[in-house]
Amino acid sequence: MKISKEELLHIANLSDLKISESEIDKYLENLEDILEYTNVLESASIEELDETIGANDNENVFRKDEIKEFEGRDALLQNAPDLEDDMFRIPKVIN
């Protein structure tokens, strides 16, 4: 499976990651190696099979929709890189 440089940069952009010019060849080589390995799946007889979604066959797991107080609010906010009046501060989004 060949991946183009443009495609790689597009995927990196979707992932919110930057790949520098000097890293591009290494990424392409590594990804192609891995995707080539996945070619073994071509020989698997899966036409008749359903997908396994999640790991177990539980149907739905329900619980009551109740509000529970989270007691670690202050400790939680302390992890934020930038706070103002207990709110997360981010750069201006709307001009």
Binding site: L41, A44, I90
Partner: protein, 487 residues
Amino acid sequence: MEEITTLTVHELSKKLENKELTSEKIVEAYAKRIEEKEKDVGAFVTVTAQQALEEAKRIDSENIDRENNKYAGIPIGIKDNICTKGVKTTCSSKMLENFVAPYDATVTQKINSEMLPSLGKLNMDEFAMGSSTENSAIKVTHNPWDLNKVPGGSSGGSAAAVAANMVPWALGSDTGGSIREPASFCGVVGLKPTYGLVSRYGLVAFASSLDQIGPITKDVEDSAILLNMIAGHDEMDSTSYDIPKIDYTASLKNDIKGKKIGVPKEFFGEGINEEVKTKLREAIEIYKELGAVVEDCSLDVAEYSLATYYIIACAEASSNLGRFDGIRYGYRAKDFSNLKELFTNSRTEAFGDEVKRRIILGTYVLSSGYYDAYYKKAQKVRTLVKNKFDECFKKYDVLLTPVAPTTAFEIGSKLNNPMEMYLADICTVSINIASVPAISIPCGVDSKGMPIGMQLIGNRFNEETILNVAYAFEQKIEFRENYKPSC
């Protein structure tokens, strides 16, 4: 008296009961051992021995009902992707270098209620992505049997700490082999429970349909004891199963007569080192002597599983790690001019190479135009793998395979070739894909004296059988009595 730190947890428990030891003495011995060995082994991200000592003194001073709290005061180590309130949980990543969880994971609550003081948080591959612990952004962990070799990964700090007697036991997590492979490399016992047996609430998510928390211990009995403590349904993890409580120590019987063990021939192919195969064949002979019925069988899933694993695990990781945006917690870049740049710069600066590679691969296989070819196909192959395991378990109680194709390799030897590193997981990933449990126990050493692991796989929620079969073997070969790490 034997040195405290060489004892198993069940041995320590007896000495506490007989009042031969106090919790303070035990924790002191471990604190000293960590101080001596950490510079060589590098197992810890955060050491909390001082807090553990305070906790131990408190437990000693209270009149603990030992009948119902047999293990109170025996310390533990915790992999650094399991949340511990008030103590850093870094996932060995620059992204979470200063993250202090505001709550305890369910397993942390459980070990707290058992009164096990925590000696600290153990090193790992960043976000549990790796097979050697070399992807840690914090430090390199060395294998206590040979300090030039890797301890395996991603729970390398946990396995190395147990092997080097720096903790009596530890919690790890296993997404594709991350408990079993390091246990194998370090000559200790590692159990990956059935998906759904242990709550993952508070475990930093890597691949949610595969992740499980499990014990890394000196022997099989300790493994059963720790599993007793952490297993059970939790409403905070909707994937955890509500099944009746089992006492896993009840299955530690020295009798496996008539147990049917299947040996899948595909796990003994050309990629597997000859010395590993030889030791496993010896183990098979021991099982025959012990009265088990051992037969060759077919389970052609190893390559399919590895390919499927890297598609599914990376896809889930790309989604799970989307939460690291530099806003609510975690690393934030210094320079950015808008919100998109804040995200991109923070993530680019704080994630290591392997994490980025997997996020990109995961995003690729989920992206428009490739979803059917990769992700959907992998989900179907997952069904195929499950069906093949189901067929095997109609005939056998346990399947026996190697844990890893080789023994521990040299530090640095596979870092430049991700695909080669991924092949270290060839014998373990199918177990996660099929959601079944497996245990890794040492079965001997190679010509260089490095431990070789044997993997015993059971049917879903049948941990008792693999513990029984592992226990009988362990009693017979007495690995711990015969082999010891150099460190």
